[in-house]
Point group: C2
């Protein structure tokens, strides 16, 4: 009964299961593929410009003249990386995540480092995207700012339940907001440029942060601004990871989607950075740059402005969805190689990977709570993982070419090598500029995760060697001594005795004598109910119930060497959950004590209470 | 091995077990009895005067002239109640707590109300005493005040471990501080009076609280001050509850201890209240009245002053120990009547009631955290429980006399009746004056606890009626169908199959077909390893592993009506704890799903991993 109600709650929340022969109906078209897989990449334009400006401001507003050049460098980099990943899509039509590419072409360790980086990165994507999405809300409604963390957690919970329901619904839900965001950002950029060309610009009214202009404009500062702006590149790998999710021809559809995504992203990023420069936007923790631009271009907090903020929130919160698709998929692949517990390999009823989704949600919630939902604080942790995986993935593609030496793919290999070089340089820049601000956490975490991967694999290898049937000679054990520990004679005990009698010709009930009156009563009842079960009464000088029992079991084990010893425990099954607290404590204690004894089998005979 | 190390940790913390024939060596003499059982009663003089003054101050310093008269009324009341409990000691030499006296002489409901009141009261005793003890520390060292809650929790933890070790050690530990406190308070009172008689009084320098003199001096205020002062009476029942803990002749020793305790308490309480009046003490949340008196009488924060504060802290923190003895004892008695789960009846190895101690510590910790270790905030909750149990206990004694009508005990009955009347009046005063300030929590809690008592008892009664062997006709079930769900053929599975073969002539391995290659492999292996076990392969259109299995089990159940169905699960026993995370998930799922199916027996065949 309790079981049934649990099942129906699951059905209500997660929908009906899908038979496996229908699985290909879940595949993505280019239109839904762009929506599902590009929200991470596209949404990053909502914060990348802010990160550049927030870095430059410490050298004063004049430093903003470097924002547009920096954004152009990043956009070129993004184009190179996107073309590099396009090679991967054709080389790995079954999905070429950094883990697989690095593992196959560089080696196991590189693959594990890439996997650890990506798992960390996906978790941060969820935390950063949701936090930035909520900033779009609190920019429009500053009095909601005190509830920032709570709002973040509500979005996280909605995404988690949505993803547990399955991927096709995700596509349908997410198609609308992605295109809505692209449309409204295009409108913003076009309207902003039109105003600029007509000379109708009203610069944003905003306050300078207190640290503005306190530092000189050093090369290190420019590099930091560049590193922070590279958040615009996050998510570009999502399409190449998800090739098999596309409709056939998978590679072609995926490649077209990738190119489209990168083009849209580049145009929006350069457009917004240019506008921010022209409208003299100064982002601060209470209001995002997009919100300031919206006020200036649309002329105040009107309907268009609120649409912009709503679209930004939606795409950002839903960008986290890319990670909800990627994290469980990667965990499942790593788990298939036995570097992660096999639970991550289980597919839920709806073809979604429930355990991965839940773990991702848990760690993202921890990040949101630890950093109080503040995007700027999470940022230094964010890019290390991304660029480690970029670099490893593209290096892997270069090494792959070196093995094949297929002249048709020479151009692709050159692009991959160039991409690997550039992202490797960015990785070094990010590591150098961000380590003291928090990137050290990730630099510490990745080796720890790799070590856990290896420990898990080592354990499963050990287990496999212990489970192999090669050269296995089963011990001939034919006799079974059955023990039934009892605390008195009652219906549950008699039922256990009758069951025990079917198992063996040597069944013994074991009673620990703690008061003589009770012992006499048991002996009396035995004449009626004992059947062919022998009653063994144990003395207990310390009034302990467990120790005499455990000693007796040990003694029985030594009686015969080729014996099974079975311990039968009546288990009360209460009619209501709270009644569990009132029963079975002794059975649990006995089970716990016997768990580490080899060659002892424990059997629970249920006794169902009706009320 | 893990088991052994758990045992030795327990030994280290809790000491060696004691055989039952040595149990009487644990008994208390008058000297240790006073120390163990009176710390609650005696220590309350450390805060009772403060509570009177803190109430009166809202009507201005002039209202302090009522403090000494109020304390005299309370002292008389204390004397009456002590003599009333002296009757109980002789009438109930096996321990006459309010629960037993009320249950036997008034009725079951009265007994349960008394028991609920006392359990609440004991928990509050721990929280209030520890908080007041820590106030003595922070009075002397004000810069420790921010760590008040943490210090409280440290003392709570020390007490808990100490009590889990057993009662005799408690006696030895607690004898020194009790007598130390009595000595130093006597010194304080004598020195203070000497200074007064010699005319050398220097009034305390202190600040008036902001609410001083803001209210008129009403009768209600005087009644509130009286109610708050009645905290001096808490703990007086402890000796009569603990009669059997004394050395023989138990009643005589206990009665003498009770009279001694009441006398000392009365003298100290009147002495301190008089001194407080004379030295113009005004207690505030940051410094206790005793601390102010200490400074004034001993002439500053010198060695004598620090000794006084240390003694106050020690007796107060250790006063909580009375509750550590009483709570588990009462819980055990109530549990023997099946109104509480039977876990409270278990005696630990060291004759202490471990579960009761742990529950008490848990709830006291919750109170300390909820009220931030502030004695004044906890106070309104405190006295309701005490005076309910006082009133019920003494009313019970009167009714008992009405049944016996033994003329020798007529005088005693009159004392009991007088005590019942007085404590009943105080109960009404407390309820009227304190309800809005927080006593409503306790007034709500007591009926809830009584309802839980009754639900527990009702459940155990239902169970007993289901377990009775009267009229029980065991169903003749002789055949046992044994199922072994498998996920492949490996050593652990083969061992489970060999075990299963000893149990029945109908053993079937059940394999769910989720991919054809795996199924072929299993069928191939079966030729070598299957033995006389039949292999059943189940189709799974939804790729679910559980649902086909559960359906098949249901089908097997319907094959024969007089059948046992045994499900055998190989259970991995890992060598290290964290490896549990990597195994047995499917076995757990299957067990959970089968838990509510009647007539199915689940057996775990352990497979021990060596690394």
């Amino acid at each position: 009964m309790a079981d049934d109600s649990a099942f129906s709650l699951k059905r209500l929340l997660l929908g009906k299961p899908i038979p496996s022969h229908l699985a290909h109906h879940e595949r993505l078209s280019r239109v839904t593929g762009l929506a599902v897989l590009s929200s991470d990449a596209l949404s990053s334009v909502a914060y990348a410009t802010d990160f550049i400006l927030a870095t430059l401001i410490v050298a004063g507003v004049e430093a903003f003249r470097y924002a547009v050049p920096i954004s152009l460098v990043i956009a070129s980099l993004l184009a190179v990386v996107a073309f590099s990943y396009r090679q991967t899509i054709f080389a790995y039509p079954k999905g070429g995540g950094a883990y697989i590419v690095a593992k196959e072409n560089i080696g196991q360790n590189a693959g594990l480092i890439a996997a650890a980086s990506l798992l960390v990165d996906y978790t941060l994507t969820v935390a950063v995207s949701i936090s930035a999405g909520v900033l779009a809300i609190t920019s429009a409604f500053p009095n909601l700012d005190p509830y920032r963390v709570e709002i973040c957690l509500v979005f996280l919970a909605l995404l988690t339940v949505g993803n547990l329901r399955g991927i096709r619904e995700s596509g349908q839900i997410f198609a609308v907001p992605t295109y809505f965001f692209v449309a409204i950002i295009s409108a913003l950029v076009l309207a902003g440029l039109a105003r600029y060309l007509l000379g109708q610009i009203v610069p944003v009214e905003t306050q300078l942060p207190p640290e503005a202009g306190k530092h000189p404009l050093t090369t290190f500062l420019l590099l930091t601004a560049f590193a922070n702006g590279c958040t615009a590149m996050t998510g570009v790998e999502a399409v190449s990871d998800g090739v098999p999710a596309f409709r056939p021809p998978e590679s072609k559809n995926a490649a077209a989607t990738l190119v489209l995504m990168a083009s849209i992203g580049i145009v929006m990023f350069i457009g917004i950075t240019t506008l921010a420069h022209v409208y003299k936007v100064v982002p601060n923790p209470a209001e995002s740059g997009i919100s300031q631009l919206g006020r200036a271009v649309f002329g105040g907090q009107n309907f268009a402005y609120y649409l912009l903020q709503a679209a930004t929130t939606l795409i950002l919160v839903l960008a986290a969805n890319t990670a909800y698709a990627d994290f469980p998929r990667l965990a499942s692949i790593v788990s298939r190689d036995r570097f992660l517990p096999r639970q991550f390999m289980n597919q839920g009823d709806r073809l979604a990977f429930s355990n991965g989704i839940l773990i991702l949600a848990l760690f993202a919630a921890i990040l949101i709570l630890a950093f109080r939902g503040d995007t700027q604080s999470l940022l230094p942790l964010y890019m290390i993982g991304v660029f480690i995986s970029f670099t490893l993935s593209q290096t892997g593609m270069v090494l792959r070419w070196r093995q094949n030496r297929d002249p048709r793919h020479f151009g692709g290999a050159i692009i991959n090598a160039f991409g690997a070089l550039l992202t490797g340089v960015v990785l070094i820049v990010v590591a150098v500029t961000k380590t003291v601000e928090g990137a050290w956490i990730v630099l510490l975490l990745i080796p720890i995760i790799v070590a856990l991967f290896k420990a898990t694999r080592r354990h499963y290898d050990h287990v496999a060697s212990q489970l192999t049937l090669k050269g296995y000679e089963p011990q001939p054990r034919v006799h079974n001594t059955v023990l039934v520990p009892i605390g008195g004679v009652q219906r549950s005990v008699v039922e256990a005795l009758r069951y025990a009698e079917t198992l063996s010709d040597d069944v013994r009930a074991v009673y620990v004598d703690v008061d003589p009156a009770g012992t006499e009563a048991v002996k009396r009842d035995w004449e009626t109910w004992g059947g062919r079960v022998k009653l063994v009464v144990l003395a207990s000088p310390f009034r302990s119930l467990m120790e005499p029992l455990l000693e007796y079991i040990e003694q029985v084990e030594n009686e015969r060497s080729n014996d099974y010893v079975t311990v039968i425990l009546p288990e009360f099954v209460p009619a209501r959950w709270w009644q569990h607290l009132l029963h079975n404590q002794r059975a649990l204690l006995i089970k716990g004590a016997l768990l580490f004894r080899p060659n002892i089998v424990v059997t629970s005979v249920p006794f169902h209470l009706v009320k």
